[in-house]
């Protein structure tokens, strides 16, 4: 929704509120307006991809695959120039085509497919460009530079092209940038065991960040990304929190004890933010946690078969509860 419409909407809502406070309009009268047939469907339903868009994306994916296969089969036979042309050149070409198509209202959706190709090719394009220029692309400092450039390009292009796919790739590249900055700082400074811990913490941070970004997107024109961010955020956050708990006898008591709070927090948040991803992944990770605890602490004391029976009953309980929550809060969405 553009700024003008947003302002107009806020104005109407503000007037409606004032009128309502003054007793000039009742709740029933307002609701009666929405029961009128022919009104636009809620955006929550209309934001789903239609068949044509799905075909555009599949087509874009196949073009990317074709370029990869061509490169893989003939890489050793290609000269440096050809290598750069087929990767960096294809990236630039796809991006320009996407930008040109975006100018036409009826071709805007096809432009997404070209931005998809550009986004998939972008890391390959810059890596090949630097590698063929004689630089060592396996150093963390150069990888930071590559992803800093890509993050800037894709977030910067949002200024000109309001396409969700560009934002999606921008988030992916910013995440990669974060990873390589951490790699750069950690370097070889930590002992192997501690270096692994940084991976768990960085996924925890990413999960939290993605979840919050998803929450921010839900009221913006990029709301299509909200569910994706919630889903990946849940997996990264709960997965890393579980990994941080470790395994007996090297378990971390803090993370093992706090985990139920986190997982139930996510499940209850699903109601607040109206996200099925939170409910589904929260329930799945709760089941995972029950199985982990059973295997870790009860398999030897109670005996493996009895522990399995108890965990099976607990999982059934979680399933019943999750379905009940789903019916109560998400039945209409």
């Amino acid at each position: 929704m553009d700024t003008f419409n947003e302002e107009k909407k806020q104005q109407v809502l503000s007037e409606l509120k004032s009128l309502s406070l003054a007793g000039g309009v009742t709740r029933e009268e307002v609701l009666a307006i929405f029961s009128t047939e022919g009104l636009a469907q809620p955006e929550a339903l209309s934001r789903h991809l239609n068949l044509a868009e799905v075909m555009y994306y599949i087509g874009g994916g196949i073009v990317f695959l074709g370029i990869c296969v061509l490169s893989y089969q003939n890489w050793d036979n290609f000269s440096s120039f050809l290598r750069i042309l087929i990767t960096t050149g294809s990236f630039i070409a796809a991006f320009i085509v996407g930008a040109l198509l975006y100018r036409y209202e009826n071709l805007k959706k096809i432009s997404q497919a070209f931005f998809l190709i550009a986004g998939c090719l972008a890391p390959l394009a810059l890596t090949v460009l630097f590698k063929e220029s004689g630089l060592e692309t396996s150093t963390d400092s150069l990888l930071v530079l590559i992803y800093l450039i890509l993050t800037t390009i894709f977030f910067g292009s949002l200024w000109f092209f309001r396409q969700t796919i560009l934002l999606f790739f921008g988030i992916i590249f910013a995440t990669a940038l974060f990873h390589f900055i951490v790699n750069l700082i950690v370097g070889q400074n930590l002992l192997a065991g501690n270096a692994i811990k940084t991976w768990e913490y960085r996924f925890l941070v990413e999960g939290l960040t993605w979840g919050l970004i998803g929450f921010y997107f839900k009221d913006t024109s990029f709301k299509a990304l909200s569910g994706v961010m919630y889903g990946f955020g849940c997996i990264a956050f709960l997965g890393s929190a579980m990994a941080l708990g470790g395994w007996s006898p090297n378990q971390n008591a803090f993370w093992e004890l706090i985990y139920p709070v986190l997982v139930f927090g996510i499940i209850f948040l699903s109601v607040y933010v109206k996200s099925k991803s939170f409910l589904v992944f929260g329930s799945l990770f709760l089941i995972g946690y029950i199985l982990k605890l059973t295997g870790e602490y009860f398999s030897s004391g109670l005996g493996w078969p009895l522990a399995l029976v108890l965990s099976g009953l607990a999982i059934m309980g979680v399933g019943y509860w999750a379905v009940k929550l789903n019916k109560k809060y998400f039945a209409t969405s």
Binding site: K131, V186, N189, L190, T209
Partner: protein, 177 residues
């Protein structure tokens, strides 16, 4: 609540989301660089490169009671079981102060009292580098083929002298007491 306040409040999740990774990077940088500030490893160590095994897999040199000892060669057998192909074992003393390795004879090495624990008295450990590399070409990076002395969240690359440049061919014997 006016609209501008509403807009600001709406941005709070985004601001927090962007701050979290930045805070982690800052905290990590401080946690890594501060504890090791001004600290340097001071305890030298002894290592072996080359083949430290006789035929059939028995170790040639081991540390027992804090001193290096040479085990007797096993009796020859006609049954071919295990025959190492690497070169003769060489013993080195690594000086962490000037980052150099000097070769020792067995007699010289046996003069040193060795602590075989993983960590030195001043909290350092000799460890192989972890791999790096771009995910597209998987070149592995050079660090995986290097050895480091690590401690207090800092590391220093070692200039080990290794048999035939084989980076796998390094056996840590102990810290010099």
């Amino acid at each position: 609540m006016n609209i501008s306040n509403g807009v600001n409040r709406k941005n709070i999740p985004l601001i927090i989301a962007l701050c979290i990774p930045v805070v982690m990077i800052i905290v990590l940088a401080v946690a890594i660089y501060l504890p090791g500030w001004g600290k340097k490893p001071a305890v030298n160590f002894v290592y072996i490169t080359g083949s430290n095994v006789y035929d059939y897999g028995q170790s040639k040199y081991t540390v027992s009671g804090g001193y290096i000892k040479q085990n007797p060669a096993p009796a020859t057998s006609t049954i071919p079981y295990y025959k190492p192909v690497n070169t003769e074992a060489k013993i080195f003393l690594y000086n962490v102060g000037d980052n150099t390795a000097s070769e020792l004879t067995f007699e010289q090495a046996s003069q040193y009292r060795l602590d075989t624990g993983q960590f030195s008295k001043d909290g350092y450990k000799v460890e192989r580098g972890s791999g790096s590399g771009d995910f597209l070409f998987g070149s592995g990076g050079q660090d995986y083929n290097s050895w480091f002395i690590k401690g207090h969240n800092r590391s220093k690359k070692l200039n080990l002298k290794l048999d035939s440049g084989d980076y796998y061919n390094m056996q840590f014997l102990g810290w010099v007491n």
